[in-house]
């Protein structure tokens, strides 16, 4: 099961924090299948994607199994 996590305002916007789903394919396909608005936010550069706790810019990367895919707004700590 692929695990999806949302953080910050993205989690509030979409109303969930974590989801597990059966999926095997590219990050782009995963996001398009999940929510068109989410995919659009990424294409506009408003949010970033991390796979297994590292930022990933290549949305053609394939994910499956135990992968953790996180959607991250621009960092604003401090």
């Amino acid at each position: 099961m692929v695990r999806m996590r949302l953080y910050g305002w993205v989690a509030e916007r979409f109303g969930w924090r974590e989801k597990s789903l059966e999926f095997e394919g590219t990050i782009e396909d995963l996001l398009n299948g999940l929510n068109a608005e989410l995919a659009e936010l990424i294409s506009k550069g408003r949010v970033m994607v991390a796979v297994n706790h590292s930022l990933e810019r290549d949305l053609s990367r394939r994910v499956s199994g135990d992968d953790i895919i996180a959607i991250l707004p621009t960092f604003s700590g401090g």
């Binding site: 953080y7 989690a11 509030e12 991390a50 590292s54 621009t74 960092f75 401090g78």
Partner: protein
């Protein structure tokens, strides 16, 4: 010994200062930066800030920043702590301590660590206002 990490409650700044400097006779300068929650915002009167974070990424980034600062500026030691969850006005959300032989390195390292936290740690803040309303802060 200095340390880094995510903290889920008030930060004991005096204890952190002691642990960085205690017994380190080569230390000639200690610069401390406290990022404190302020009440004023262009969007309203702030009651508290709420910090969300990605545990696996944020903790790793803080340690990486601390380690790099020690190397880059030749520090004797450093501490870098970020509080998460609700942080009320007047309390410390970010504590940076840089200890070095000479003052220049400590000043520069402290500033660099603050900038790096804002740039590379997976942490997000939301202003929660007195009387209701809230707003996620977006940088950049």
């Amino acid at each position: 010994m200095g340390r880094s990490g995510i903290v889920e409650g008030p930060i004991d700044e005096e204890a952190e200062m002691r642990s960085v400097a205690e017994g380190r006779t080569e230390v000639g300068a200690i610069v401390t930066f406290r990022g404190v929650i302020r009440e004023t915002s262009p969007h309203g009167r702030v009651k508290f800030l709420y910090y969300d974070f990605y545990p696996e990424m944020a903790g790793k980034a803080l340690e990486e920043i601390r380690r790099k600062a020690i190397e880059k500026f030749g520090l004797v030691d450093a501490t870098l702590l970020h509080r998460v969850g609700e942080v009320p006005v007047g309390e410390t959300a970010l504590l940076v301590i840089a200890a070095s032989e000479h003052r220049e390195a400590a000043f520069e390292a402290a500033r660099w660590m603050v900038d790096e936290v804002k740039r590379s740690a997976a942490i997000w803040k939301k202003e929660v206002f007195v009387g209701g309303g809230e707003r996620w802060v977006e940088e950049g």
